[in-house]
């Protein structure tokens, strides 16, 4: 039980593989992926980044009360999601930083902007909650709250329900490094292991919980090291590498469906302050941050796709233009939208 199945990536795969992907004489496309898939990831990345930047700007204009940026997490979220989408039978419990994931499942920029501005028609909670929190059931997503780690046991319970009902569904649960300190994370992993549940734990480790660096959160260098104590495999992945995240998630889904839980730790960077309320200059080394930004996946991945002849420069340009116009449209649309009617405050308290 404590051994990794041979098909799963081993820790040595954790070496940054962007260089390999960028290599013109690079390897064949990973199993199950087409060039179109990767071009689509380029499109999503560019769109998400444009949205993310606009949302931040709207906060500064006083129109968006709060936002958590996903800048630096895009490769991890989109690579991982691509595996879930290819699989076709996955259910997702994301967390508040998963904007790329929540958009790439099909939510429109207009819906996203309604959410951040708290307007009527908001898709997750009817604007009762912080942006994109609640549920998007048509797209297989539940995220009840932003109470850190509360979703982990729920995702395990969802996987249990699936198993009891005979579904083939695999549940993917996303969370940050900070969430690993919570007792419920331990409880969730232990239970999933005992019942060999079809669940993948996906840690987006950006090495900070708000201002608290990883070394103040844990002694070990990898969250994945905890998996062994539960008797399931844990893997460390370069979270700036779309393909590596895709591949690890793909194999983890397979493992989850056939054997039991797996833990994937995607090492990512948080390029922005924790949220729009945060000022990271108090605690974040600027040089280290500048250095990290050199590896921005939203710059590197499209460039590599072009280098590899998978995408054309024209396509990328078009994505950028298109993203700006979609973001503009969404902003205008949401700005003009109405807030929910005050009388609805009592709706849906009980079934």
């Amino acid at each position: 039980m404590t051994q990794a199945p041979s098909s799963l990536p081993t820790e040595t795969d954790a070496e940054p593989s962007i260089a390999t992907v960028g290599d013109k004489a690079g390897p064949a496309l990973p199993a199950g992926l087409t060039a179109d898939d990767l071009v689509e990831v380029c499109r999503q990345m560019i769109l998400v980044r444009a949205m993310d930047e606009r949302i931040w700007m709207m906060n500064r204009q006083g129109k968006v009360p709060i936002a958590a940026s996903c800048q630096g997490h895009e490769a991890a979220q989109l690579g991982s999601l691509l595996a879930a989408q290819k699989d076709g039978d996955c259910f997702l419990f994301p967390y508040y930083r998963d904007l790329a994931l929540k958009m790439a499942v099909g939510l429109t920029p207009r819906q996203v902007m309604l959410s951040f501005m708290g307007k009527d028609g908001e898709p997750y909670s009817g604007a009762r909650q912080f942006p994109l929190q609640g549920a998007d059931l048509p797209r297989n997503i539940i995220q009840i709250s932003n109470v850190v780690a509360a979703g982990l046991t729920q995702s395990v319970g969802y996987a249990l329900g699936c198993k009891m009902l005979g579904d083939d569904t695999v549940t993917l649960c996303y969370f940050g490094d900070g969430a690993t300190s919570q007792g419920e994370t331990h409880e969730a992993m232990n239970f999933a292991a005992i019942h060999k549940l079809p669940v993948v734990f996906v840690c987006e480790n950006n090495k900070f919980a708000i201002s608290t660096p990883q070394e103040s959160q844990m002694v070990v260098s990898d969250v994945a090291a905890r998996a062994e104590g539960y008797g399931f495999p844990g893997f460390v992945i370069d979270g700036l590498d779309v393909i590596a995240c895709y591949e690890a998630t793909r194999q983890a889904i397979e493992h989850a469906r056939n054997v039991g839980p797996a833990l994937i730790e995607m090492k990512v960077e948080r390029f922005m302050p924790h949220t729009t309320d945060d000022d990271d200059r108090r605690y974040r080394d600027r040089d280290a941050l500048d250095e990290a930004r050199q590896y921005d996946p939203v710059t590197l991945f499209p460039a590599q796709m072009v280098d590899q002849g998978i995408a054309t420069p024209a396509q990328i340009d078009e994505f950028r233009t298109d993203a700006q116009s979609q973001v503009n449209d969404a902003t205008d649309f949401a700005d003009a939208a109405q807030p929910p009617d005050a009388s609805t405050i009592y709706d849906h308290l009980y079934v």
């Binding site: 997750y124 909670s125 009817g126 009762r128 909650q129 929190q133 609640g134 549920a135 059931l137 539940i142 009840i144 709250s145 109470v147 509360a150 982990l152 046991t153 729920q154 995702s155 395990v156 319970g157 969802y158 996987a159 249990l160 329900g161 699936c162 009891m164 009902l165 007792g183 419920e184 409880e187 969730a188 232990n190 239970f191 005992i194 709706d347 849906h348 308290l349 009980y350 079934v351």
Partner: protein, 327 residues
């Protein structure tokens, strides 16, 4: 009609609902081979197998979070908290998450989950096996809170709770488990969540209670009847929603209100019942509103002498009824 105890009624309701609906399952510490520490699920593992009668690790927060997740998938989990005292590590999942899942998704998610919690004192449980935990759940919009007092109510209300699509906190008073016996219909029945029950009609004083102390109130009412005092005893049965109509009707009739519970007095259910009457039955009140409740110390101490000092009793209740009647 069969006579049974409260724990037998609970067991019978659980068994019938698990037979009726495959999505219903129980989970908790020692519910399997052991059949639960109070034997609520005795023999179930033979009838339904270890998956639907699931022994969990000793970790209450996960019991609730996992039950909630399974409910999202359409299962109808019945997580058990072994003793009410151990519910605290799990309350974030109950009051933070489960209670808000429907509201916080604008109606998209339902939470068909019934949390069974043996609670209360009078059984030498000391500080950590006696707690009354109803006040927190009562204060949480989105939850239903049920407190049956007899086998008839326990069975009928538990079946309704299991069929309800809202999260229900189902509180079973431990001391009633074997102490209270009563008639239970042989045929299938349910009781609606919500309505209180006037367990004894009277005209001089309204006594509102629930759970174990409701029985003490009935005993006290019988005692004071000998002195010609007519006490009406209202069994709340459901705390949330509170049946304000039945309470107010009774107070409008008697003009005098006594609330009795074993939970600490400050901020207990009695405060809300008093506040309700002081607002909506104000014109009818003929006496100060009285509460006879557990004192404000951390639940019943272990020593018999101290436990006795803590608990409301038929005698102390009778004295309070007499005082009000004479007012």
């Amino acid at each position: 009609m069969a006579e049974m105890t409260v724990i037998e009624a609970v067991r019978s309701a659980l068994h019938e609902e698990m037979e009726r609906d495959e999505r219903v399952f129980v989970m908790g510490e020692d519910v399997g081979q052991r059949g639960g520490v109070f034997l609520a699920t005795q023999g179930f593992i033979e009838d339904f197998g270890p998956q639907r009668v699931m022994d969990t690790p000793l970790a209450e927060a996960s019991i609730m979070g996992i039950a909630l997740g399974a409910a999202f998938r359409g299962m109808r989990p019945i997580p058990e908290v072994q003793f009410s005292d151990f519910v605290w590590p799990s309350v974030n999942q109950l009051i933070g998450e489960a209670a808000r899942s429907h509201y916080g998704t604008n109606g998209a998610l339902k939470v068909p989950m019934t949390v069974r919690i043996p609670y209360g004192g009078g059984i030498r449980g000391g500080l950590f096996h006696s707690q009354n935990v109803e006040a927190l759940f009562f204060h949480t919009p989105g939850l239903l809170v049920v407190t049956p007092s007899t086998p008839y109510e326990a069975k009928g209300l538990l079946k309704s709770a299991i069929r309800d699509d809202n999260p229900v906190i189902f509180l079973e008073h431990k001391k009633t488990y074997r102490l209270v016996r009563g008639e239970v219909p042989d045929e299938e029945y349910t009781l609606p969540i919500g309505p209180a029950d006037v367990k004894r009609a009277g005209s001089d004083v309204t006594v509102v209670s629930y759970g174990l102390s409701m029985h003490y109130c009935l005993a006290a009412a019988a005692t004071v009847a000998d002195d010609g005092i007519s006490a009406e005893v209202v069994d709340l049965r459901t705390l949330k929603p509170l049946d304000s109509e039945t309470i107010l009707e009774s107070v409008q009739k008697t003009g005098k209100l006594l609330i009795v519970h074993e939970d600490n007095i400050s901020g207990g259910i009695g405060a809300e019942v008093a506040a309700l009457a002081a607002d909506e039955a104000f014109e009818y009140l003929d006496a100060p509103i009285a509460r006879l409740c557990g004192p404000d110390v951390p639940t019943m101490p272990f020593a018999q002498s101290l436990e006795d000092a803590y608990m409301p009793s038929p005698e102390s209740i009778a004295a309070e009824i007499r005082r009000l009647a004479a007012y």
